[in-house]
Amino acid sequence: MDIIQVTNLTKEFKTYNVKNGFLGAIAGAISRKAAFTKAIDNINFTINKGEFVGYVGENGAGKSTTIKILTGILVPTSGEALVNNLVPYKNRRKNAMKIGVVFGQRTQLWWDLAVRESFDLLKSIYRIPEDRFKKNIKHFYDILSIDKYLDIPVRKLSLGQRMRCDLAASLLHDPEVLFLDEPTIGLDVVAKDAIRQFLKEINEKKSTTIILTTHDMMDIEHLCERIIILDEGKIISDGSTDLLKKNYGQHRVMEIEFQDEFSGLSGIKDIKLLREESCKKWIRFNGSDLSASDVISKIAIKYQIKDLSIQEPTVEDIIKSIYNNR
């Protein structure tokens, strides 16, 4: 079942060209040229219930704009979006009841109130029945371990603590869809890990549909079974993470340490020397043409190998190569 449906969605922003300097500013106040920039340009995709989708792109690619349309904050210039069969920007309040949103950059909790009080307010706002509220909150205390700072005002929490509370807050009303806009930005490794564990569990146990934008490819690698890649407002790739790896990620990097120092690796076909450092060398080969054992045996005939390791490309490598080849 499609829970999100995006058809020919376009959002234009009107911007004004600002001229340089003081005189330019005055000239700009009198007459200025409006320019229209397309933050997103004719986007199409559908997302099924229970999917965990990574929505990836460089800064300004249009990730947040899409999220803001789907959450009802922005009205698109043309095209249509449906979330839970509702048009979010026309049925803002109905849509809001069924979605959860976390912006990594700003909190949705009450800054000067204790975390517990924020939760109580959300309980009334979303009209959450008492028993469900209690059950959810106990669950979140356990897996996010937030019970320690329930009585602390939000402004005194660390970023990691705050983000855990924000996540719990966004899920109190059991939303069908959870939108996460850079939830791990600025967090330390421990906090990131806790949040990833939590998201994974929510997605699996409650089959909450999750859409995640992030610049941290480890988030994507750990969590998302599908990646949509955006570039300058257009979707340039959309598919399962495994398929992406299969299509783009066939190359392997092998790190070899030799017994003796020498330069070059002459006479071996289909491998590329990436860099060398005294006895160590890094080579790249295509996994679909050559197996690792072929490569090793070819090298071992000529040189004495002391140690070696093989690395699969990360999602980050793949996305980098997609950007470089566009």
């Binding site: 947040s64 904050i73 009450w110």
Partner: protein, 264 residues
Amino acid sequence: MTNVYIKLILAAVKSKMEYKFTFGFLVFAILVFYMGQLGVILVIMSKFKAINGWTLGEMAFLYGLLVFSQGITFLVFNALNHFERLIIQGEFDRILIRPLNPLMQVLCSGLEVSSLAHFIIGVTAIIFGSKSAGLEWSFGKLIFLAIAIGGAVLILGGIRIIISAVAFWTIRNRALVHIFVYSSKEFILYPVSIYNPWVQWFLTFIFPLAFVNFYPAGYFLQKSGQFMFHPVLQFMTPVVGFIIFTLSLLLWYYGINRYQSTGS
């Protein structure tokens, strides 16, 4: 449902109480400001026995009406004076993703309890003014006073909503707040009849501040003879309030779809 908004208000008040010093200081500052303003009027009145036929007591009554409706407006609509901040910092995003009315959320989050100071000044001026002007109160007059103040609040609140809605297009609206919210009320510290006809026309039909205190005071103090226009205007404050407020809501809901949020 209304229950939720009351909880939001309590949360806002509680948040504010976290900063008790600021709260106390603000009450004090407002008191000083309005007592100063009232003082200037008293000084002027001690030099001139009457301004355009308005005695000291009548001037105080006029002023009391303004400050009292100003107080309710400040209590309810104060958040809108800083609305620009919500827009510039993209805080309005958070309001739009909640299943509640956006305007109500903005208002509830900024309820200003320190308007207590307005009520002290306003009530004092109205009581002193009506005593000294020899105004005889009746039940009907009290009812009309309440309705007229309600209308005045709708006018003042409506103006704030309109100015806020402009920010959906222009993002910044600080200058407009200063002109139309803060400075404009200087006009109605005095009876509007002292101004030249163009200004009276402007304050009646374009920017109808005259309905906040001048026209209803005209009823209570029997001064409708001074009106440049039809005497029926003395009863029109609620109607004008209703019109302005309705227009302001239309503009607000039209503008909300123009909200552009911020980058990232």
